[in-house]
Amino acid sequence: MTKQYALGIFEDEDVLLHAVENVRAAGVKIYDVFSPYPVHGIDDALGIERSRLPIAAFFFGLTGLSFALWMQIYMLGFDWPMIIGGKPHIGLPAFVPVAFELTVFFTCHGMALTFFTITGLYPRFKVPVMDVRATDDKFVMAIELDETGSQFSRLTQLLRDNGASEVNQKEMTNN
């Protein structure tokens, strides 16, 4: 299925930020904004909710910590207790380094995998992009059009009034 998009191309992050606010105020739904670098403040302007990733990070860390403590206590304390230098089988201070390292290990890799999964990042042969300049120096605001693309001229005017340097129409296969 293909969809039509109006693409407003902007040259500057601050112009883009105000354009996003004005376009949304005009009652137009923005499909997405593509930028070469993170534009601060765009989450609020687009109404993107605060990410819950930090909560996930906490639980990944907790998993790592519990796993590490369980592993060390089970292995050295119960499964095969060894006398090492006459010390207790379960010497918690000595288990701290490995517990800490595994906390970090689980947090980091858990976060990376979550990030890749929810953002849909994985190796692929071909990447269809709205405008190749969005990873170079342009800020691209994409607005979805209906089948006929009839609102295009009205949107062109709106985007131009808000500082877009050009407005293009683009057909994308659904992805």
């Binding site: 930020l17 004005n22 670098y37 765009i42 095969w80 970090v104 947090t107 890799h109 929810i118 120096d137």
Partner: protein, 484 residues
């Protein structure tokens, strides 16, 4: 929108626009390899050959090929291991600690520094694995249930902590580095002309498009990874130092080791970053991104950590005397005046005196002097580890077993060989990956470039040291009040 004082030195000079950044940094990736790069790679590959030959001798004939003896049973191998791990620390410090402290100048150096971390840890890992003698059994270090019964690894041993610390450090650095690379791979992908480049960078970019939501998550993930990497980097060298500190060998058994090793690691790491960056900026013409200001800032960190190391050396001596332990005192007197006095003297000169020269502004901003200093510091830091390891071991409690250590040709081959391995990896990275984080430099460009709206060249007229490259017209005029 960001606010930066007009008194700040610009972090990017030359009046760069966003497109210039992409152009300048992708240039190296897209251009045909030049002669200098190929010459450097051939030298690195030669030493990589030396490495493989030394590994073959070590594995085939056993570690008797090394110069170790009954008394000195840890020498160059562990020296090199600690040296390489230490070098890696600067990369994580730049990418994680400086990110948390919002030091924007890190943007132009973090990519290469993180790459350096990863390659340095690879080199470091070679030594303990080869020292096992039977490296194909290296998996025994992990808590596997082996076939002889359910005998597990000993979690009370600092050597096992090291296994966990180094593996965590390596994989975390790799993931952190790769996530940072994804947007830049996308930039290269969208410019790529040839089918192979298009395909490879499409695969590498993981389908990154730069959408607002992806960027928002990207920043959250970067912050969290920086947050966990910061204590991680401190823990790694702490644990490396515990390989020594938890033993009862005089000269090793000291509580000062963890902070002292961490400071030393960052010290040597920044020296290595400087060595690499000073070459990279000239070879790839990145003088506008890695400016004299960056070099001076790195020099300052080198000076601070170098001074901490100096204080630690003196504290060790003081504590040896203050402890009134005869063996401890002998270990330190022997270190400074015994048969290895020359190693101790090199360590003191290179690590204590050299960084103090950085107090002079002229030294801090001088490229040739910084380059020489950075090499001297790396030599000094190698000697530090050698002094700690060998001088503490070679005269133990029983004078009849006192011995000297001299490296075999294979010892030397392995050390020089890992340098070859390191530079081979670094040169390949520098050619095929963007050496500077484009997306991050673009983020800071508007407000910290010398064509930004908040930069005031007049305020800088007094600073004569800076080349007069300011004053290029703003290519993207700020019009954010226009539509209000």
């Amino acid at each position: 929108m960001q606010h930066v004082s007009s008194l700040r030195e610009p972090l990017v000079t030359g009046g760069k626009t966003l497109h210039d950044v992409t152009q300048d940094i992708c240039y190296q990736v897209e251009a045909k390899p030049n002669l200098r790069w190929m010459a450097a790679l051939s030298v690195a590959l030669f030493f990589l050959g030396v490495f493989f030959y030394s590994v073959y001798r070590t594995v085939w004939y056993g570690i008797g090929e090394w110069g170790l003896n009954k008394t000195v049973n840890w020498a160059w191998d562990i020296t090199n291991f600690v040296w390489w791990v230490g070098i890696g620390h600067a990369g994580t410090l730049i990418s994680a600690v400086l990110l948390l402290f919002r030091q924007k100048w890190r943007s132009s150096i973090n990519r290469a520094a993180e790459a350096m971390t990863i390659f340095a840890v690879i080199c470091a890992a070679m030594f303990p694995v080869l020292h096992m003698g039977r490296p194909w059994l290296a998996f025994y270090v992990f808590p596997f249930q082996n076939t002889l019964g359910s005998l597990w690894a000993n979690f009370n041993s600092p050597l096992l902590w090291d296994v966990f610390a180094i593996s965590t450090y390596f994989t975390v650095s790799l993931v952190f580095w790769y996530i940072g690379l994804i947007p830049d791979f996308a930039s290269i992908r969208d410019r790529a002309k040839g089918p192979i480049a298009k395909f490879s960078y499409s695969m590498l970019s993981f389908g990154w498009k730069g959408s607002a939501k992806a960027w928002s998550r990207y920043e959250t993930v970067s912050l969290i990874l920086a947050g966990v990497s910061t204590p991680l980097v401190l823990s790694v060298h702490t644990i490396v130092s515990m390989d020594f500190a938890t033993s009862v060998v005089p000269g090793w058994h000291t509580t000062i080791f963890p902070p002292y090793f961490v400071a030393g690691a960052i010290f040597s790491g920044f020296a290595m970053v400087l060595t690499l960056m000073l070459i990279t900026r000239v070879v790839f013409r990145l003088e506008d991104y890695i400016t004299l200001e960056h070099i001076a800032l790195m020099n300052k960190i080198m000076m601070v950590t170098g001074s901490i190391v100096g204080v630690a050396y003196i504290t060790e001596f003081f504590i040896a005397w203050y402890s009134q332990v005869e063996f401890e005192q002998y270990a330190f007197i022997n270190r400074a005046t015994g048969p290895y006095w020359w190693a101790y003297a090199s360590m003191m000169t290179c690590n204590v005196i050299t960084p103090q020269l950085v107090w002079f502004r002229r030294v801090r901003y001088s490229i040739p002097l910084t380059f020489i200093l950075s090499i001297i510091v790396n030599i000094g830091m190698w000697f530090e580890r050698f002094v700690i390891i060998v001088t503490s071991l070679h005269r133990d409690y029983l004078p009849s077993s006192w011995a000297m250590f001299s490296p075999s040709i294979i010892d030397i081959g392995l050390y020089v060989g890992t340098l070859g391995l390191f530079f081979t990896l670094f040169l390949l990275f520098a050619k095929f990956f963007p050496v500077i984080n484009m997306a991050e430099v673009k983020t800071i460009l508007k407000y910290t470039g010398d064509n930004g709206p908040t930069y005031n060249p007049k305020a800088h007229a007094a600073h004569a040291h800076h080349p007069a490259t300011h004053g290029a017209p703003a290519s993207a005029p700020v019009t954010y009040n226009q539509h209000d």
